[in-house]
Amino acid sequence: MTVKAVLSALQFRKVLPHTERTLEISLPDNSTVKYVVQKLSEKVGIDIEELLKSKKVVIILKNRVLQYEEEADHKLSEGESLIFINPLIGG
């Protein structure tokens, strides 16, 4: 299956040009959020799990903030989007 990862959090700026921050990722069926995070971490060379655990970055999945500590084992479905953002606002 394929899912989309949008790496909008600013920590990714240092490692990826903005044109390459939306990724289509091929995964085995029933892959978990944790698995995607590991794959992405390997790809971009950033410990994304640490960013999620320290809440410097959050994932929006199905229009809500995923509670990573409790939902890392959530199984993804074909075509889902994970948006990685900083839980910060502008005004």
Binding site: I60, V65, I85, G91
Partner: protein, 378 residues
Amino acid sequence: MKELYSQCLEKINANPGKELWHTYGTLMYTTQGYELGDTPAKYFQEGVFPAFKISGEALIENYEVENEGCALCSVICGHRVRGVKMEYESIGSLGSTLGIYDLDYILDLTHICNEMGMDSISAGVSLGFAMYLSEKGVLKDGVQWGNGKRAIEVLRSVAFREGLGDLIAEGTLRMAQRLGIDPEEAACVKGLEIPMHDPRAFSMQALCYATGIRGACHMRSDYFTVDIAAAPIPEIGVVPTDRFEESEEKVKMTVNHQNAKEVLNSGVICMLGIFDINDLCAFYSAITGKEVRPQDIVALGEKSFMLKRMLNLKLGMSKEHEKLPQVILRPLKRGGTGGFVPNIQKTLKIYYSIRGISEDGYPTQDKLSQIGIEDLVR
């Protein structure tokens, strides 16, 4: 107070956002807002646009930025370029709302607003309305999407009330009235232009606009900050959930949030979410000598909110004003809102019930008695 200040300074320094706000300014939100469909474009009619070009990253890559902060704050999130203070709201209202993605033009447009004393949100959205009407052929000698040079010329004319600027200076609602077109085309609530948080991106932000004391204000309350986990208030049960949810539980959270933000705003406290409701309680107690808890803040805010609502009603507001215009209720085919449109009629009904507001828009006598302002409104 000195002890509290030291504690707050420690809190600021430990905030994970400090470095990002300092480096990118509030423009750091532009690309994130874009992904969620929160940052509007072309007068709220487009969901896909080159957001990166007007982002905090683009600003620091292409300009010499001077940081500027509030007194005693160590975040120093303000960004000045060529002397012009650049903020997320101005980038959206004078940039993407107009289809302008050239920061040079946005800098000049922002400078005009600052120098001429015009609010960049109202000015930008009204100029965007003129572009929208020009595209539809309503305005003959109008202004086109993305034409920065013409936008500068027209914005100056707004300040001097000349030509087309004289019309735009009226704001979107009166523009529609003067032109004899449907006021549902005016992107405003209670006459105040909708800011740079699209109500189709967060169901409860939509409700906050509809019920806002001064109309479509993104400060009272800024509920979208809850659903991206930027500034939830778990102490009063306000936590992130599905951003499109429209349940009774969610509306309850919104009412609590609005109430808490009444007090936070009165305190002239930073809205970036660095300080939480416990800090507010601590300062409130230190200043007044009266111990307060988070629930007391909600109760204080409710009183403030209802007093203002009563004033609005006295000055002519009615429940008919509590809605969003149709121009903002059309689903966007592309972009981060995923085609969502808030059901304001549904959430407003729940909201009135929770707030103790009758169907005619007036608070019930029971509610006024409960919050202790029944004498004031007689």
